[in-house]
């Protein structure tokens, strides 16, 4: 009886320790991101530039823009999330703070999830925030916005989590940009397909329920499995 209670108390205090450490880590990463806002804003700037280049290079017909809008938005989001991954683990690996995280006696996967969540907040969520303007520029009607935004919200979560695995594996490699793209892009193709499909349906006036369910399922699947893969990948990188 007492043994069981002790066990429960220890589990509870372990959870509290993890929450405290994860919160401290999130605060630290947010503070660093604010001090280096130039680096932090780069991915969303890239997203804006890439998607607005499409209308400039095409006939300015609304029907044509509407046709390419899903592809432009999603390829832009995919490439910009790839660009952002370099910020995730590389510097922490170089200055030794990642080793300290691995050696603090708390579940490594949990801490890396906190790190990835902050990374999504800084590089994934801004894409969703600017998406209404860009979708409007590409001729999407206002009625399409809810579907587009939900799709991007779910899609960027999945992209951040998949990307974290690739970033962990390549953090020890110099100039890993192209290697990272080769690792991550094939895994990100389902997100691209269903995200673009959802966007196309939303623009044509339907509610893209099926595609959104699949995007949600992918987000849940990666959120459950990716943490352990990320932790394993980062441990290999630290050796």
């Amino acid at each position: 009886m007492t043994a069981a209670r002790n066990e429960a108390a220890r589990a509870d205090s372990a959870r509290q320790s993890l929450m405290r450490a994860a919160w401290a880590l999130a605060q630290r990463d947010l503070r660093i991101a604010l001090r280096r806002s130039g680096d932090t804003l780069q991915p969303v700037g890239f997203f804006i530039v890439v998607t607005t280049l499409f209308p400039l290079g095409l006939d300015p017909q609304l029907s044509l823009l509407r046709d390419i809008a899903p592809a432009a938005l999603w390829v832009g989001a995919l490439l910009s999330s790839l660009l952002a991954l370099d910020l995730l683990f590389r510097e922490d690996a170089q200055d030794g703070t990642l080793e300290q995280l691995a050696l603090c006696g708390l579940p490594f996967a949990g801490l890396l999830v906190a790190k990835t969540a902050v990374h999504w907040l800084l590089t994934g969520l801004p894409l969703v925030v600017v998406a209404p303007v860009l979708a409007g520029a590409l001729g999407a009607p206002a009625s399409a916005l809810p579907g587009v935004l939900v799709a991007l919200l779910l899609g960027t979560i999945t992209l951040s989590l998949i990307g974290a695995i690739g970033a962990g594996l390549t953090m020890g490699v110099k100039r890993s940009g192209s290697l990272l793209a080769l690792l991550v892009l094939p895994l990100a193709v389902p997100v691209l397909i269903f995200g673009a499909r959802a966007t196309a349906q939303a623009i044509s006036g339907e509610w893209p329920a099926g595609a959104l369910y699949l995007l949600g399922a992918m987000a849940v699947l990666t959120a459950t499995l990716a943490p352990w893969a990320v932790a394993a990948a980062v441990r290999i990188g630290l050796e």
């Binding site: 450490a21 401290a24 630290r28 660093i32 200055d95 030794g96 080793e99 300290q100 050696l103 006696g105």
Partner: protein, 205 residues
Amino acid sequence: MNELTAESLHLWRGEHHVLRGVSFSIAAGQCLQVTGANGSGKTTLLRALCGLVPLESGTVRWRGRELSADRDAFHGELSYLGHDNGLKADLTAAENLSFATRLKRPLQTGEVSAALERTGVADSAGVALRRLSAGQRRRVALARLLLTHAAVWVLDEPGSNLDAHGQSLLAELINAHLTTSGLAVVATHQSLNLPTPQVCPLALQ
């Protein structure tokens, strides 16, 4: 029993047999001083003890339990200072230390400034780390060791970049840690200036 023991540790790095049957045992209040030529595997041994590099064979025991059985419990009592200081260049010394402490335990007010005072960099508390000299950064990293309240210190060339006064400060800190029944594993070429009975030498070939 606070005891750290290692039995016949072996580790290969590619074709290179780095650790060839390393064994040692230290108890509370003792310091293992690891010496050896460059490339003899001092850093590898320290990283393997911490569990950052997997061992090929051999066992490490902490308080009589194998490390592989309960690594998190050992890490909870461990403080590691490697070649890199493990501090963020964009944050101030105080911010770095309060983060490093909260990673391990709740932080009380005044602790950080007391630790910075002890290592002689109290003036730098509010300065971004990238503006400090290499020696000052090392002193901030030493303050981190004090704050984590760990039983085992694993230090890799802790005296690098420190001036003469810093070296004697380091000896004082290690000595104080050992007298409060802590353990230390230190890889260094320099003499640690510790009382002889506390030091167990280990020379790697």
